[in-house]
Symmetry: C2
Subunit: 199 residues, 2 copies
DNA sequence: GTGCCGATGTCACCTTGCGACATCACGCTA
DNA sequence: TAGCGTGATGTCGCAAGGTGACATCGGCAC
């Protein structure tokens, strides 16, 4: 810290492209290697060849590095809701199935690794819940834009999201490899059955 | 820091009873007065006549001071599930209605104030989501203890929780004052209708 | 009284997250 | 080529969250 400090050390490649992507990759690696809590933001930035402060300029917080995909998810959901013509619940289910095909299919291993990280940390679980909530809000808004009333839109979205959550949990669980789309359809059917059973 | 430090200032009442309750009350007041983020843990502890370190010994973190009731909620839910005899979905609905009567009824104003605090902070929203998730897990476990299979228990719980969430949101929303129990029954009916509609 | 023990205070520390400011790399223009 | 923006980055400092280690106090058993 006192020797050799007159710096020719500024070979440091400022201006590397895709800082955001490199930070996401570094975070993912480190979370897998050491766990989320054992990884500091400085570690992540360091591995990406950047500074801690830069990380915080690109991500709201440490958790956010794991959730960059959710914006895209939201777009696909909203677009599908807008384009699909059917009953409210069916529209929502269709939207989630679209997402399952376009985004999740072919990425089972990646998703499982990611999910393992999330499940290892309460903080990340909370963030995931919040992201899901944000998705729900987007779908509800898209439904309302089609002229549905608030309460129908909300309930259709919430129940569709429930179906997705349950199907997703089964898909990610180790063992099976049934396509997520199929699981969503199955669970939707089960939901109909369970709610209409007389108690 | 250098003058008058020989302390007779230890009049400080160590050993005041109900430290936990006083901290919760102080936190609630301060969150309402200044907002969650503008309140430091030291502020809360100070108002309760205690030290920051003591707060952290009684609560896992700053958010937790607002969620002490959820343990009791969990007990009531689990007990009702165990005692009620009906179809899985109906059992879950019954449990949430019991909670609505025993815990929420007569506290609308308090609940609204609390909810206003929560909605003002993303951090608190995340924590609320997590608490809800924990409740869901407890109900699922109680259902499984009655002999139901994993997937039925999960789906019944999740859909019941969805009904509760929607009903709760309507109840807390300003304006109405229909009892929460009634709202839960209404929403359950709506859910049956919406899922069985042909798309 | 003596001594144990649990609840509390004190202190030091690391990390998160952010504001303020200095720098660097690049493109543009004369 | 020099000079000048401009935006992305690094550096510095700091408030607050959260925790471990240790000192201290109050009561209680003996």
């Amino acid at each position: 810290m006192s020797q050799c400090d007159v710096g020719y050390h500024r070979r440091m490649a400022r201006w590397q492209p895709d800082a955001r992507g490199r930070l996401e990759a570094a975070a993912f690696e480190l979370f897998r290697e050491r766990g989320f809590e054992q990884t500091t933001v400085a570690d992540i930035a360091g591995r990406a060849g950047l500074d801690k402060r830069t990380f915080y300029r690109l991500f709201g917080d440490k958790r956010e590095a794991l959730f960059s995909g959710s914006a895209h998810l939201e777009e696909v959901l909203a677009k599908t809701v807008a384009e699909t013509d059917a009953g409210p619940f069916e529209v929502v289910i269709a939207a989630f199935r679209r997402v399952a095909e376009e985004i999740f299919a072919d990425r089972l291993e990646l998703v499982r690794a990611r999910q393992a990280i999330i499940e290892s940390s309460p903080e990340l679980q909370e963030r995931e819940l919040r992201k899901t909530g944000s998705l729900v809000a987007a779908v509800t808004a898209a439904l309302r834009a089609k002229g549905l009333d608030e309460s129908t839109a909300t309930l259709a979205t919430e129940s569709g999201a429930t179906v997705f959550r349950v199907a997703y949990a089964r898909w990610v669980a180790p063992g099976g490899d049934v396509p997520l789309t199929d699981l969503i359809a199955e669970v939707a059917t089960e939901l109909r059955a369970i709610t209409s059973a007389s108690g």
